[in-house]
Subunit: 241 residues, 2 copies
DNA sequence: CGCGCATGTTGATTTCGATCAAGAATCGGG
DNA sequence: CCCGATTCTTGATCGAAATCAACATGCGCG
């Protein structure tokens, strides 16, 4: 007897069977026949760092699941000052339902792999399946929580606390084992310029604070991008909680 | 013949008939019989400035519609530094679905009037009516957009641009006619200390920037709280768009 | 009405992070 | 492997906002 209904049942389209978005992403809310419809209209894309997924105030006609890599969401002032207002990791859903234009720019920070679908197909499924809308609400609430946490960092933390907070954020997303163990190892998905735009600082200040953390023995840095955190609690103590 | 189905039909509970939340708020998604159930469990509350609606990490067992006044959402670091991460105006919905604890503090900034219901009743209705979940998703997306706009202000604007941006935000929410006309008049719903916590500044800096705007003739201030903006476009030009 | 406390303003000084300015390390491509 | 371009680091100086301090104003209340 088959007590355990396997989530990878035979009705599931082949392209979806091994996909992370089916487990933790929005596709988990879809019926096999909906997945089939969707998979017929979906395409997997690979994007190099710097490539745009959603242009500022462009007409948005597609949604994506992020399958790998890191996407940065940015906003710009008219004189060119820029702020990163969110980072998205696999298996996040990327796109703004119910509105055809976006005031936000989405750009690959690393190499990014996406599963992309036309807006119309998803919008129709949202109307048909409350479960999908529920998943979207949950993801949106999660993003809102993250945005508000980050507002505290932007508004009230010092430069050194900001950099420590950023490293923790990345560690927890890229090396989830970090939460349990005392140490974490990862490649920074952002350049110093991106980190500065995320933290509301300049490149120089980011660099100086990273150097300080290195000299104080809190982190090790190899080849600019590779970071080892020996003792996460030390980093946490510097993040201003 | 009655072509126009009056939204204020006779099935609507008396307490809801004149309520703003039925038009622009979440209650607009409910059927008359649901409104009736809800109204039986709801109570109207008046809160004085400074009173808490949701305590940080307290168990949240109710939701509210804000019927009048301004509510501030705050977060604090362990050493007492505080950041306001959102302002809510009528007819916003206040509460965090799907989670019993909140890491946020909600406090009346002005005198506030709410319509408050037990969490369980709403949670059940969310499961029953996709329309309600849809409204919640829309409000959450709106709050996310606002949070991200504010992140740019916190991270990349100067003190003087921050204060101008704040005045515009208030003008647009308290005196919506402001959008059309060139001028706006309103009472500031926040103290200088609150404004500072919203902008990531100190009280003194907020005060100085307000004085500067006053001396430059962009605004007039009476009794500390009452503000007149003669020419909104001048304020916009100082807000760093 | 005026007393006392909250709240807000203004001034002097300090400090943190920005800006300006060289260099150093790293990476990709022939 | 070396060259040039990018990206990153480090140092010197500057400036905006914080801090420290004193005073002013408005407001509730006896």
């Amino acid at each position: 007897m088959n007590l355990r209904q396997d989530i990878h049942n035979s009705d599931t389209p082949v392209v979806c069977q091994a996909c992370e978005a089916r487990h933790r992403g929005v596709c988990g809310a879809l019926e096999p026949h909906q997945l089939l419809t969707l998979s017929k209209h979906s395409s997997k894309l690979t994007l190099e760092p710097g490539m745009e997924l959603v242009g500022d105030s462009e007409k948005v006609d597609s949604y994506s699941n992020i399958l790998a890599g890191v996407v940065k969401l940015t906003k710009m002032l008219s004189d060119g000052r820029q702020q990163i207002v969110g980072l998205q990791f696999a298996p996040d859903f990327l796109g703004r339902p119910f509105r055809s234009e976006s005031s936000i720019n989405a750009e690959a920070a690393t190499e990014v792999l996406t599963c992309t679908f036309p807006k119309g197909v998803i919008d129709r499924m949202i109307r048909e399946s409350p479960g999908l809308e529920h998943k979207l609400l949950q993801q949106t609430l999660k993003e809102l929580d993250e945005a508000r946490d980050w507002m505290v960092t932007l508004g009230r933390k010092t430069a050194s606390e900001k950099v420590a907070s950023f490293l923790l954020l990345i560690a927890r997303n890229i090396d989830p084992a970090a939460a349990d163990h005392k140490q974490a190892t990862f490649d920074l998905p952002l350049t110093r310029a991106d980190i500065a735009d995320f933290l509301g600082l300049t490149i120089e200040t980011v660099s100086r604070q990273l150097t300080k953390l290195r000299i104080d023995g809190v982190i090790q840095i190899e080849n600019n991008r590779h970071v080892v955190v020996r003792d996460i609690t030390r980093l946490e103590r510097r993040s201003g909680i």
